[in-house]
């Protein structure tokens, strides 16, 4: 049993910390929020060269075969610096289902390009009638060796730049059947795909994607027909833990900012960090972050080890989502008025906390999963 990083993981962490510290100041984050694509292709290629994109993919597909726990360490640093990029969309939501369920041809076609920074992906799952449940109204009907997809997807991250969208569509059964959902690789440029950016709190690139008679060859089916649900849930587990890792990094940064500020800001002749109320809020943040770290790492470790992880993943996402809220809100209290101004860094974190808490399942969604795992 060990709660600390090994030497290799420490090196990964510190090099990522240095790289992102250098390339990703908050000014850059704001710039990307205003940017149409939302990320820098130049930096994307740099991280491809560093091996980040293919970190958990096998070498034969351009990866370096490390495990998910190692990726979580990287994601934590990305969260610390609010790194704007289609990383989770591409690597987790796109790459992993291809790795797990793709044909050899699909894997060869997509994963090498992904790992080398030449291909972006995302997953189109959520719809107006469901967040992460099984109520899939988007339909894919078979038509002479093709599938015709019709429907609306919402909150699709980075759809504006993804080369391929993995679309979860219903191929049979009632609207809420877990069976009868199939995944399709859809080229973003396909006729009938329309993408509209949504105006979100974090100014990240989440989109509405409408599929209007989008024709997709049968060879673009990912995995077995009607068997997409399990694959979808498995991706969601990894994505949820990835999001937890980002929140852990963000929370650490937020605490550092708060403690630093409390040492500089003087009121009533004393640095405010000497006041008990301020100290106690910071202590609470510290305790919450310890909890966030270990529950995230435990879930990531279990996934890496191939152990049953559904309960632990949901415990992580539920706890981290709530805990990050407490951390950020305590931070605002410590920062006082200055942290409320738009050009302060703290609101960037606040906004990301609001997004992260919901993406890939919010706390109460995941508590439902924990409850069902307990067989109450």
């Amino acid at each position: 049993m060990d709660f600390i990083l090994n030497e290799q993981q420490e090196m990964l962490r510190s090099s990522a910390h240095q790289f992102l510290g250098d390339k990703c100041p908050i000014a850059f984050v704001r710039q990307m929020a205003a940017d149409e694509r939302g990320y820098s292709q130049e930096i994307w290629e740099e991280i491809a060269n560093l091996g980040w994109l293919g970190l958990i993919f096998p070498e034969e597909y351009g990866g370096i075969d490390l495990d998910f726990l190692d990726l979580v360490i990287l994601l934590e640093e990305m969260g610390r610096f609010c790194f704007p990029s289609p990383f989770i969309s591409t690597v987790i939501c796109g790459g992993l289902p291809v790795l797990w369920a793709g044909t050899e041809e699909q894997k060869k076609e997509l994963l090498n390009k992904l790992a080398s920074g030449k291909l972006l992906m995302t997953l189109a799952y959520t719809e107006p009638g469901t967040h992460y449940g099984s109520t899939i109204n988007t339909r894919a009907t078979e038509d002479k060796g093709n599938y015709i997809i019709n429907g609306t997807k919402l909150f699709v991250p980075d759809a504006n730049v993804a080369d391929y969208l993995i679309c979860a569509a219903r191929t049979k059964g009632d609207v809420s059947d877990e069976q009868g959902i199939t995944l399709f690789l859809v080229d973003r440029q396909s006729a009938g795909v329309e993408i509209t950016g949504l105006k979100t709190t974090a100014e990240d690139k989440q989109c509405e994607v409408t599929f209007n008679q989008v024709k997709v060859p049968e060879s673009n089916m990912l995995g077995e027909c009607n068997q997409g649900w399990d694959l979808l849930q498995r991706v969601m587990e990894y994505a949820a833990v990835a999001k937890c890792a980002e929140m852990v990094g963000g929370a650490k940064q937020v605490l550092d900012m708060s403690v630093d500020y409390s040492k500089e800001r003087v009121q009533f002749g004393h640095p405010i960090g000497s006041f008990q109320a301020v100290q106690h809020r910071c202590a609470d943040m510290f305790i919450n972050i310890d909890g966030m770290k270990f529950i995230t790492y435990e879930a990531a470790w279990r996934l890496s080890q191939g152990l049953p992880s559904t309960k632990e993943v949901s415990m992580a996402k539920t706890w981290v989502s709530d805990a990050y809220q407490k951390v950020v809100r305590n931070a605002h209290q410590v920062h006082g008025g200055t942290g409320f101004t738009e050009d302060h860094d703290l609101p960037v974190y606040f906004k990301r906390a609001q997004t992260a808490k919901i993406l890939f399942g919010d706390a109460s969604y995941h508590r439902k999963i924990v409850a069902s795992q307990l067989k109450l």
């Binding site: 049993m1 060990d2 709660f3 600390i4 990083l5 090994n6 993981q9 726990l69 605490l255 403690v259 409390s262 040492k263 004393h270 640095p271 960090g273 000497s274 006041f275 008990q276 301020v278 100290q279 106690h280 910071c282 202590a283 609470d284 510290f286 305790i287 310890d290 909890g291 270990f294 529950i295 790492y297 435990e298 470790w301 279990r302 080890q305 632990e312 415990m315 539920t318 706890w319 109460s364 995941h366 508590r367 439902k368 999963i369 924990v370 409850a371 307990l374 109450l376």
Partner: protein, 390 residues
């Protein structure tokens, strides 16, 4: 990073767990239910069980063999605590508080004489720190020990001392040099035989139903060999070991949760069992998650002890988290029971024979004893975050 136990650790846990399943009889379980909380004494049957655990070398598994332990890595200590806590038993003060200080600072004679008895569960300690004017501000204590030949003569008063009404020894912090500045530089620790003439004990009954005590020392004669370590170093010994002693499993909360779930499945309201209410399921899921967080914080500490990594605040973090978790589960259990939540043990209609009603009352002290959570948060802020002192 690795969240699994070694094969040996898992086997040890299984052996201990099965032993406890067998040995925690209905009498023991009733005593543990009745006497929850830090002030709780072990009832007679529980005491017998502790002796059995001691005989197996399981009470202090990580102490060196020469002092009655089994010389096992520190993780075993944590496994024992976790398993015991699930069944409602706390690690005795002799093992968790007095013993370690004696192990680290006591004379060889004291170690040889006292530690094996502690490890076997044969002797019991009651803490003697708090005084009416010295709670969180322990440095304000006034009880005095004056050197007199081969003895010390001790005068003064302690309060809120749990366990002393049945313990063998008093773990006493007193002033040996009242002139010292600051005061804590003049404090010493003694092991005092509670049968000594001049000691009188009065009960203080707590709202949780447990007994604490006022203890009066009237010219009590204590042999000089009962001084722990060096004179005037007592306060430092306590402070150094405080983080070492702050170990809080969340397995007792796990047990409470299982009881709450049992209850929620049987108590019916408006035609439905409480467990069918989604809000109740959410609460149970939340507590399950928090128990896991508590467990991780506990084992993080275990690894630090095992690896002899200096511990500055991680024990304190565990204390704050688990104490407030105990209160949360008490509130949750009590809330979902509604009107039934007020029924006490022995009352007709009392769910779980009043167990949750009891936990709700006793758990108030969890965020106060052993270092109030306010003091703990200040420790975290100043030691972990290096925030400025006023």
């Amino acid at each position: 990073m690795d969240f699994g136990f070694t094969k040996e650790e898992s086997e040890f846990r299984e052996e201990l767990h099965n032993f406890l399943l067998k040995e925690v009889t209905e009498e023991v379980a009733n005593e543990c239910r009745q006497w929850r909380g830090p002030a709780a004494p072990a009832g007679p049957h529980t005491h017998e069980l502790l002796l059995k655990l001691g005989a197996k070398g399981w009470l202090a598994p990580s102490w060196p063999k020469e002092y009655g332990g089994s010389g096992l890595p520190e993780t075993y200590r944590f496994i024992v605590q976790e398993e015991m806590a699930y069944f409602g038993m706390r690690s005795p003060h002799a093992v968790n508080l007095a013993g370690p200080v004696i192990l680290h600072h006591g004379s060889e004679e004291m170690k040889k004489k006292i530690l094996p008895q502690c490890a076997r569960g044969e002797i019991r300690f009651g803490l003697g720190y708090t005084e009416p004017q010295a709670g969180s501000d322990l440095a304000a204590l006034e009880m005095r020990a004056a050197k007199d030949g081969d003895n010390y003569i001790i005068n003064g008063q302690k309060t809120f001392n749990s366990h002393v009404h049945f313990a063998d020894y008093h773990w006493l912090l007193v002033l040996t040099n009242p002139e010292a500045k600051p005061k804590h530089r003049g404090m010493s620790l003694f092991v005092v035989d509670l049968n000594s003439p001049g000691i009188s004990i009065n009960p203080i009954w707590t709202m949780g139903g447990e007994r604490a005590n006022e203890v009066f020392y009237d010219n009590v004669v204590v042999p000089a060999e009962n001084l722990v370590g060096e004179e005037n170093r007592g306060f430092y010994y306590i402070m150094e070991d405080l983080e070492y002693e702050r170990t809080f499993p969340s397995s007792d909360v796990q047990y409470y949760l299982e009881e709450v779930i049992k209850c929620a499945k049987t108590v019916v309201r408006d035609g439905k069992p409480l467990i069918s209410d989604p809000a109740v399921q959410q609460g149970i899921a939340e507590l399950t998650t928090e128990i896991e967080v508590g467990r991780l914080l506990f084992y993080r500490l275990a690894c630090m002890h095992r690896d002899k990594t200096p511990i500055l605040f991680e024990g304190t973090i565990s204390k704050v988290f688990v104490s407030e978790l105990i209160q949360r589960i008490a509130m949750f259990g009590s809330d979902i029971l509604g009107l039934y939540g007020q029924l006490q043990e022995g009352s007709k209609w009392a769910p779980l024979d009043g167990e949750i009603e009891h936990i709700n009352r006793y758990s108030i002290i969890e965020s106060i004893w052993g270092g109030t959570n306010e003091i703990c948060r200040t420790v975290i802020a100043t030691r972990a975050l290096k925030m400025p002192v006023a």
